[in-house]
Symmetry: C2
Subunit: 246 residues, 2 copies
């Protein structure tokens, strides 16, 4: 497979960097081709603006998503965005690796999503969920966090990990049509001994070696909803916390 | 009350800008004092890095949250961060206003949270939820979105609005100790007629005029959890979708 790893961490000597390197090695050992977008190293600009387009359909007033659509049709994305879109459309598996900051991705990675998951590329009119622009590809989160695993259990202090990640797993990946593989989470990374950190690296390599056998998360397709955008009465609902239907 | 409005939108002539202005006017009419951080107008830098500190405790290897703690103790935040922290600690109500992008805030606003909701200020060891650094203050989201309201019902196409916003309402506001007021959401803004947009502005002013009567969202306090970080057996659990306990 072609794998795009989008990586965001400000410290080159972090555990996150070790996890990135181990992941790339495991993927290459398994025969995959890997490209890495190291956003801090690239100095990636995360701020969406009118400067993201080399020509504008509506120069007087910025409507960002409409200009994305226009740019997709007229090859008018700024070069830094087009380079990332090219990698995104090249890949069969997208991995986002990051430290969990305020229950989400660091700003530099949020900006990669804002600018690269563009209208006309990742989604569009009638193109979302099972008809999303990135359908046929897979995606996975790989995150590091200071919290303990029990804190993200369904009855844990921080809430169900599925609720914490809903905006990424469903709202970003599934919305764009991506198959969502179960995340890899390295918990309590700053409390780990060197041996425990080594175990986490091994666990990540093992997770990546089983990509073919990982069962994707379940999300209701558009076809489960009626014209009022509500779940049809004949469909068994999956809750946020129980997304894997039997 | 002292109100800090942190506002993120790239287009000065947007509906979001009209909503911002109407909100500021409504708050001032009610006797509140308002400061606005207009992140795009300020050219706010959202990328957390080692340059955020004027001195470092660990210069060789960046551990961002530990340097935040050190900076809080030694007045060592970069000036742009310190200015925002000063506004944050001045306010009694924090409002974040933004267009919902990929089920979350735009990157420029995520970076404001990453850099300003600092360790030692918004949270710290033993300081979260009811003991969070910002306890005694309130917070509210004001968001604009292209989706229709029914899509964010509990059985809606996009999932429960409470699940979409969990990382902000709970993971950011409540975690830092803030009382969380019900959000104001302007749905389907780009499809509205001028009269419908006027109605949305009026509804926002009305929402802001009722701040005293809005019932905060419910989140379990730390005291509801046992030493294993799991909800105690004698506590009635609130689900993500039913956070307002009777």
């Amino acid at each position: 497979m072609n794998v795009l790893l989008v990586y965001a961490h400000p410290e080159p000597a972090s555990f996150g960097a070790a996890l990135r390197d181990r992941g790339v090695q495991a993927l290459r050992d398994a025969g995959h081709t890997v490209q890495v977008s190291d956003l801090y190293a690239m100095g990636f600009n995360p701020v969406a603006s009118g400067a993201d387009f080399t020509q504008r359909r509506f120069p007087a007033r910025l409507q960002y998503d409409r200009e994305q659509k226009h740019a997709q049709q007229h090859q008018a994305f700024a070069p830094d965005i087009q380079a990332e879109i090219d990698k995104l459309l090249w890949c069969e598996l997208l991995i986002l690796q990051f430290p969990l900051w305020w229950f989400s991705v660091p700003a530099i990675l949020k900006g990669w999503l804002d600018r690269v998951f563009a209208n006309g590329v990742a989604y569009g009119p009638g193109r979302r969920l099972e008809t999303g622009g990135l359908r046929g590809r897979s995606a996975m989160l790989a995150l590091t966090t200071g919290c303990f695993e029990g804190m993200t259990a369904p009855d844990g202090l921080l809430g169900d990990l599925n609720a914490i990640l809903w905006h990424l797993h469903f709202g970003t990946f599934a919305y764009a049509g991506l198959r969502v593989l179960p995340p890899f989470t390295a918990f309590a990374v700053q409390y780990g001994t060197p041996a425990q950190q080594q175990d986490m690296l091994d666990a990540y390599a093992s997770h990546l070696s089983r990509l073919d056998t990982l069962q994707p998360l379940f999300f209701h397709p558009q076809s489960d909803f009626g014209p009022d955008w509500r779940l049809r009465a004949d469909v068994q609902p999956a809750t946020v916390a129980q997304r894997r239907l039997p």
